[in-house]
Amino acid sequence: MLSHISLLLVVVPLISAPVVAILPRGRLPWAVAFIVAASCAVLAGVQLWAVLHEGTISYELGGWAPPWGIEYRIDAVNAFVALIVATIAAITLPYALLSAEREIPEDKIPLFYSAMLLCLTGLLGITQTGDIFNVFVFLEISSLASYALISLGRQRQAFTAAYQYLIMGTIGATFYLIGVGLIYSQTGTLNMQDLATILPDVLHLNTVETGFAFIIVGIALKLAMFPLHLWLPNAYTYAPSVVTVFLAATATKVAVYVLLRILFTVFPQGFAVTTPADELFIVAGIAGIITASVSAIYQENIKRLLAYSSVAQVGYMVLGIGFASATGLTAALVHLFNHALMKGALFMAVGAIVYRVGACRMEQIHGLGRAMPWTFGAIVIGGLSLIGVPGTAGFISKWYLVVAALEQQAWISVAVILSGSLLAVVYVGKMIEALYFKPVADAGKAVSEAPILLLLPTWALVLANVYFGLDTDLTVGVAEKAAAILVGVQP
């Protein structure tokens, strides 16, 4: 019975998305979407528990045995990422109610929640499936839904941002598809486990190496890895606040997961080290951390500032993957979780400001910190976590990353990680300065604190930032197990 959970995580949002689309306007679509997201979070929690206690779950769709049929194969890695995605969805949806009513035209509300659920379906599907072509299908489901969601933003730039993301996202997905096709042509299978047993014999073929390169570049586009990140700042800046929260906390995380799967499960251990991919990750990670953090400092829009910071944080994860050691992967996975928490909290707080002021440019938010103390508090703690101050979740992931770098005596990486934190101090400081120390602008005089329904989810994530900064049993414990599965012998 427990194995059905792996399937229900995908089917429940899938079946409710079309139902929500035809519900009448009002708050009913939201209620259904919230119940679905909450039950997904519970299911994902049970799934993680089951995987940790009873080992890998394998689910055969349609009763067709793998490798012929599609198999959902869940180990600690998927279950961990699925839990992040589902939990963030469950926390984002209560926030969505008011924020979406403010930012999205009333007649689009049912379709908006339908697209949110489709996006959730796609993201959860990617985490559940054990079939590399199925990954492409779910990747496109989530991407198409997110293009539509981004284009719902109020400014006209939302359309161009969505268009830009669509072009780059589709090129990325098609690259992935080419890679899968080339690998299929040499192995005749699409099942990840089956590929893991067949690929070692054909690794020397040019076709397989080319396929590997295509897949890595394709995912790097979806991941917003440094030189391929150009779509991300616009998309996050102009999307409705809720969409930014949801995508920033989940979409790139799931892409990181796919990258891990391809590098460590599908392709045999150590293959990436024989290709330039390994050094490429470290170089791209380092370049991403530095350039994106510096760009963030110069942004005049706080959503955009945080978006550039997201690119930098992806750089940390890529760096962790580049180390290709158990500690490096633990760091990447822990940061995956922690970054979802801190960016979720920060974008929610910014969304609360947008809810009250209708804008998030620096000069429009001057002095609002005093009028909105709770929102401001959330930004301060989220920002501290982003910097990596001890006692917050951000510290834990930076710590493991530094340890992983020291293990390999990668002094440059250590220096980059630390200077990345210093740059974060500058851009977080810039936000806090504008919010608290600048004199209040005329428009900001009548602003009051954000409604409780926006503050509760925000503070839930903020407190999670503090909690997971002090108690690391769940994050580090699970991430270590997951990393052991990835680098170790396949169970």
Binding site: H4, L7, V11, L14, I15, A17, P18, V19, A21, I22, Y59, E60, L61, G62, G63
Partner: protein, 139 residues
């Protein structure tokens, strides 16, 4: 819109054939080439031809936009519902074997229903797209 007699007569002759062909492709899908995707597109092509010849307003009277949205959703629900039905019968998701009295009948029924769902959704989605683009800027 200027009515064109030749087009209207030819369209009235062709449209039933198109719909018939769509249904053939739909229900022949488990014996030969065919299935919901192709049938849905052919089916919607008949309606698109109709609205090109007789005008959008006439076409929208035949299939109102909100019905299309319901149909598009219905197709997905049929598809996913078949999966859930096999789940409730004690099998895995989309395991058609349990749907009929014997495995072959079950597989037969299952794929037919799933393709029906696909066909409905594809046809409705194609028409929604067409009406959305063609109707843009009129109101």
């Amino acid at each position: 819109m200027r009515p064109n007699l030749i087009l209207q007569v030819v369209a009235k002759f062709v449209i039933p054939l198109m719909i018939l062909f769509a249904l053939y492709v739909q229900f022949h899908g488990d014996f030969g080439p065919g299935g919901g995707f192709q049938a849905g597109v052919i089916f919607s092509a008949a309606f698109i031809l109709y609205s090109l010849v007789f005008g959008l307003d006439t076409a929208e009277k035949i299939i109102p936009a909100h019905w299309l949205r319901i149909l598009a959703a219905l197709g997905v629900v049929i598809y996913a519902g078949v999966g859930v039905a096999s789940l409730l019968l004690g099998g895995n998701y989309l395991d058609y074997t349990l749907l009929g009295s014997n495995p072959i009948a079950g597989q037969h029924l299952g794929i037919l229903l799933v393709e029906l769902g696909v066909g409905i959704t594809v046809a409705a989605a194609m028409l929604i797209m067409f009406f959305a683009f063609a109707g843009r800027g009129r109101e």
